[in-house]
Symmetry: C2
Subunit: 444 residues, 2 copies
């Protein structure tokens, strides 16, 4: 498709290109614009009609939006931003450099500028920061026919018209009706007779992660947002909820790999920023790992007498780390999707201890057999086997305990993931290893 | 809330309890039922009216559904299943033991049973397995008024009426209209004049993960599913798409922690099954780690001469592992959400090499300083510092190369995560460490 667009462009067949674009989906046009040179990109973009231009713009990656705005006249910028939904405008402002933000705000009329500034004031992790204020408000005493009229009158500029809210004079929510209810009921039915009372709401200052969980729990397409005085100020729609879920998942993946979460995409983050995001944890973990190293030096005599002891250190460390990371991953994910609750701690611990006993024994047997065959050294097989079992049990216990303690302390369980657990388990397993070795092999 | 329900139950105030339940959301009722004893649960459930009962049932966890069905009469089971949407029935059948599946199928009328069997035949990772066949089909030559009539006539049993599809005689899709289009256009407008032509579709046999990505890309509420002959057979709705995304994310977390993904929740998976899911990778990684151990034995002379060398092994191994896991996590996640494409390999590699140079140097300097202060041993600081830089660069190069190679080979990049990369990096760093040590310290 890219080739066809570029071909028509080169042959200057603008009319043909224009009708090709008209037959295409805005999301696909946005993808194509992202794949061609900036000069071509602006030419193609200017062939779109106003509606398609605004829609395509909303689908673009932020770096493309930035390049495009830089090439736009103020008039063109106004055409686009005036057609964006307010939540898309807020998202755009959050991602653009200061110069472009100023241009966008200058194009907006005073009323809109005021709204934008209000929305920008919500903390970035709050439900308010992802809501849109464009929704359909009804009154309880309207009939279905009047509701339809109201939707026809205001609906075209609303992000969704499929859930409408009946508000009282104080803009407090009396109930909700879906478009389905409206379509399936008689024209003269009163809204108050078909509306669902006490719908699920979220507060503007609530954590956005908690807010979007309600979409899944209650199977919603949108959720109303109320302020501290319980007045309805906006809605969160499911497309934005899905984006929040995606970001939260990415953040968890990053935290669990000892990365400071990045606000930006991989390529938009500079090399220096990437390094900064990674170095903090690496330094902390590196310095903790030296503790393990210091402990090892205490046992110099042991491995001076039996150098083979050193050969099993990597295997013990890796296995301990892997076992701990398996458990911590399951527990962190379980907590994130509410499959595991804080109060389940004893159940989880008991389960993990039993799993660890099974797994540890199996690993010890396989490894013991290998050592017996390879080195014909029963004592070494015994030492490594016993250490393995202890290491697996400890790592699995830590793997479930640390994330659940973090949750209790209102910290993010994702921080208690593989890297940290590995470092702690390493220290334990090295000490256990040499203690057992000295006992079994009568070293001192 | 649970206390209030149990209180009313104990005082046998059934009427009061009934009206309390009527005021509650089905999802919340399902949560409460999951938290009380089985006996109380069935009593409370029977107080619900038929519609609320079916809705509440759909919100339940599968283990609760199983316990409830076991307590139900065949008549009650039929009441519930006849009201479930077909995709919920399919999901239910997938999770119930054989005895209950038989009972469910026996309650269904022959036509429905045939449909269920057809749907069950789709591979479990295909788009067909998550679709519902209940959608609103229109004709191009209908007017808006006729479309509304059709929706009123068939809509009550459809999972969504917000996207309707105009089909031709061969059930091929001619276009789609949203309920918004219908509501905002004149009653006499022809569907063919307002419908969107060539909508995005997915094929029944397409991977469900690819199918649900289109929801995010095109901002959809539902997507039509067509068979091999291009006939429309169903739709996927966004609530099911969100469930698929959630499951795919959980699967990625599990794979990246060296776990065989579990079909079931943490608690529903038995201890034995948990052990089985974990042991395969642990065994494989343990045996690979012994390679590192064997390599170490080659350098026995080196650490017999300078025992301090052993003390830095844990730190080098951990740091290499953490660096590799940072990069592989970013790349695997980037590939999963299409922020990174296979063709970006060189860009990613070049970025990672520069990040690695920065990070490696910083770690080497900090660690070198520590060694100088603690041991006043310049050679040791030099050896450890050089090894650190090499290890960081190698681990970051492997961390981006392996997942991207996997993607090229149509394997799951998530398998190339921390555990595997750590094992490979360990081997490299140990060899580099001793090679540099022997050179700098003139050992042999």
């Amino acid at each position: 498709m890219v080739e066809r667009v570029l071909g028509l462009l080169e042959e200057k067949k603008y009319n043909e290109l224009k009708s090709l674009l008209e037959s295409m989906n805005s999301a696909d046009i946005a993808t194509i614009l992202g794949e061609i040179e900036d000069e071509d990109m602006t030419v193609v973009y200017r062939l779109l009609n106003k509606d398609a231009a605004a829609e395509t713009f909303a689908f673009m990656e932020s770096d493309l939006q930035e390049r495009l705005i830089s090439a736009m006249t103020d008039k063109e910028l106004q055409d686009v931003t005036s057609k964006l939904f307010l939540d898309d405008t807020i998202a755009l402002i959050g991602e653009m450099p200061a110069g472009i933000v100023k241009r966008i705000l200058r194009q907006a009329d005073p009323a809109k500028r005021k709204l934008i500034n209000e929305l920008l004031n919500y903390p970035s992790d709050s439900a308010g920061s992802v809501m849109t204020i464009e929704f359909v408000d009804l009154r309880e005493n309207m009939t279905v026919a009047q509701a339809f009229d109201r939707i026809r009158q205001v609906g075209v500029n609303k992000e969704t018209i499929y859930t409408c809210y009946a508000l009282d004079e104080g803009r407090r929510i009396r109930g909700l009706v879906t478009a389905k209810d409206l379509m399936l009921n008689d024209q003269n039915t009163l809204i108050s007779d078909i509306m669902e009372k006490d719908p699920v709401v979220v507060n503007t200052l609530e954590d956005k992660e908690d807010a979007v969980k309600k979409f899944d729990k209650y199977d919603l397409l949108s959720i109303p947002v109320v302020d501290q005085e319980n007045r309805m100020v906006g809605i969160i729609t499911i497309d934005d909820a899905v984006d929040v879920m995606k970001d939260e998942n990415t953040e968890d993946f990053e935290k669990m790999a000892a990365l400071n979460p990045s606000e930006d995409t991989y390529f938009r983050t500079s090399v220096f920023k990437h390094a900064k995001n990674r170095i903090v944890w690496l330094l902390a973990l590196m310095l903790s790992a030296t503790v393990t190293g210091l402990l090892i030096t205490k046992y110099e005599n042991a491995f001076a007498a039996i150098p083979l002891l050193v050969a099993f250190i990597p295997m013990l460390m890796d296995t301990g780390g892997n076992c701990g990371s398996q458990t911590s991953t399951l527990v962190i994910r379980g907590l994130a999707i509410d499959e595991i609750k804080s109060r389940d701690y004893i159940r989880v611990l008991w389960k993990e201890v039993r799993v660890a006993a099974l797994v540890g024994t199996a690993l010890a047997v396989v490894n013991g057999a290998r050592i017996l065959i390879q080195y014909k050294d029963f004592n070494m097989a015994l030492v490594v086997g016993l250490t393995l079992i202890c290491t697996v049990v400890i790592s699995k216990m830590l793997g479930c305990t640390l994330p659940m303690v973090a949750k209790r302390l209102k910290l993010d369980p994702a921080l208690m993931a593989a890297p940290l657990i590995t470092t702690i388990v390493d220290t334990c397993s090295i000490v256990i290893y040499f203690k057992i070795a000295m006992k079994v092999m009568h070293l001192s």
